[in-house]
Symmetry: C2
């Protein structure tokens, strides 16, 4: 079946319209307000980290809570009282991951805005505070990420055993994926194995399969049906591949990230792993510069053109399409409640169309 | 009673000799080995963060596990099966706190060795890897801290409800204390209230009262007896005050940290809060330079001498002594099993004598 067929199955309205983003936002706002109260009760005259988190968590697509919600709905039950804390934990974990990721990558932009450490540095400068504004920005952002992780862990610790196990697996996979991302770039690794494992762990499992499993565990299911686990890995991989494509070729207005950062730093993406076999000698020489301090903006521009010319971009685009098609086919065979099947088909598309 | 009287109560041998540091180290080594196995099973060809953590956790005084052990022993019970994971969680949390603290403070030394981010930068340079060695060092150290926190949270989530609550309170207090430390330095705050709250949360509760409460909760006690809670806050505050003194006046060979870093960055310590009222006009002018980029090594040296001359150092030293004396008096009145009382008296001294 084609991706268009996926889409037609979802009807005209977004299929996961029953997922209440507004409710999640209110839950998070209330949680952060209570955190600020706790800080004040401890005698803190300033509460920057919980205030910063409250602002950060007011946005985003809530992709992971959505997958969690529909993982829970597989069992056909109504949303239980454990879904809001689980969904909030996923959003807090994601805030932690993004804030620390931007620090690790020294990336200055996120969601089209200055990254958190940049915002804090601006505040420091504006107030004429003591010390170096950039150091302060990095320190407070790191601690804000730590607070997000602490609050996520607190919520997760209150979930029943099987859900907690699913959570812990997801956290571990996120950390392993991030480690491979850093280690692979430093080691100039261009193997498809490392690129695939990094993509699978850092995005696939963490964005789709993990939240689905968490939702299923919350609904009391003994595990995710094998087809859905495969669906999750396929959609999650496609999600990361789309992100990789947009990071190199995309419109920064859409992605909220400047184009070329990944290429300049030589991240071990599948795009570059394919390219290592497909590029012209000139392209190979440019690729060898990626991740070194010798790479220039013109090199990145030329390498971008070479990646199109050699067919690596098309190959990744075909893989995104093939993954989504295969994932939708698995949904068709999975004997799910119709509204769950429709939602998961719709989410497979939403997750890989980063324009949303 | 005097501090000497504290000491005589502890007998000749270290009173907490029954606390098995070796067993804790083996537990941690085994945990990290299993973490590395999990990474390999996930397809990771490199396992830097768990390897780095294994090295990091092989050292240290295990102060927090000791307090946890003796908090548990208040109930008179033998060490139960929950103590090793709780003690390991405390050591992992402390590794997380130290690694991230050194990044936030841009501090290059820890325990007399290069800080973790410096060690990783050296490895990067030696291997001729791609990218900037210092950025890579910071990124991998940050992630290693994240892994330590994730593993600590995983162990804590397996503890019974009241112990988990004590744990979560301790984590929150650690984050709030660290936040006040950063925010106070930036805002050049010299109030004694902020200095006291920072000391209490960042060190007192986190190092002594929190681990004691955790141990007591593990032993099934409904809470820490009020005298012991006060003992914890007094000893914990004295622990931080000793650390502040050594950071300014001490021998870096003893502390494993260069002298003057805290002073140069203008940390909101009680020493500086007292000094704000006690310093000569010349000393005040030097203090106003602390935390700015205009401060020189000669300024720090002169300010150090002024802090002695004005009596601020003596005042903090007297407070350390008074806290330990009061803490030991509380132990005498607390009707504890004799070996617990002896251990807590001994630990009050050990925690405030940073030569150990």
């Amino acid at each position: 079946m084609s991706v268009d067929a996926c889409q037609s199955g979802s009807g005209l309205a977004p299929a996961d319209v029953t997922f209440a983003t507004g409710e999640l936002r209110r839950y998070l706002a209330d949680l952060l307000a209570r955190e600020q109260t706790a800080w004040k009760e401890h005698g803190a005259p300033w509460c920057d980290p919980p205030e910063l988190l409250a602002g950060y968590l007011a946005g985003g697509k809530a992709l992971r809570p959505r997958f969690c919600y529909w993982g829970h709905a597989i069992a056909g039950e109504d949303a239980g009282p454990l879904l809001p804390p689980a969904a909030a934990a996923l959003e807090l974990l994601h805030a932690f991951a993004l804030i620390h990721d931007d620090l690790m990558d020294e990336s200055d932009t996120r969601r089209g805005q200055p990254a958190m450490h940049r915002q804090i540095a601006v505040q420091h400068r504006r107030n004429g505070w003591a010390g170096d504004p950039d150091s302060y920005g990095r320190a407070v952002a790191m601690l804000t990420g730590d607070l997000a992780f602490a609050m996520a862990s607190r919520l997760a610790a209150g979930l029943p055993g099987p859900a907690l196990t699913a959570w812990q697996r997801m956290v571990d996979e996120l950390v392993i994926g991030q480690s491979l991302d850093l280690a692979g770039a430093a080691r100039r690794d261009r193997s498809i194995e490392v690129a695939r494992t990094t993509t699978l762990l850092k995005s696939g499992r963490y964005t789709v399969t993990g939240p689905l499993s968490l939702g299923a565990a919350l609904a009391g299911l003994p595990g995710l049906p094998p087809g859905l686990s495969r669906y999750g890995d396929l959609v999650g991989e496609a999600f990361q591949l789309s992100d990789d494509l947009l990071g190199v070729f995309g419109d920064p207005q859409r992605t909220g990230k400047p184009v070329g950062e990944d290429l300049a730093s030589g991240k071990p993406t599948q795009l570059l792993a394919y390219a290592a076999d497909m590029l012209s000698p000139r392209g190979q020489a440019l690729l060898a510069l990626a991740g070194t301090r010798h790479v220039t903006g013109a090199d990145v521009g030329e390498l971008t053109a070479e990646l199109i010319r050699c067919g690596a971009r098309d190959r990744v685009e075909r893989q995104v399409h093939a993954n989504v098609t295969a994932a939708c086919a698995l949904i068709d065979r999975a004997a799910l409640p119709p509204r769950v099947a429709a939602a998961l088909r719709s989410l497979a598309l939403a997750a890989t169309d980063r324009r949303q």
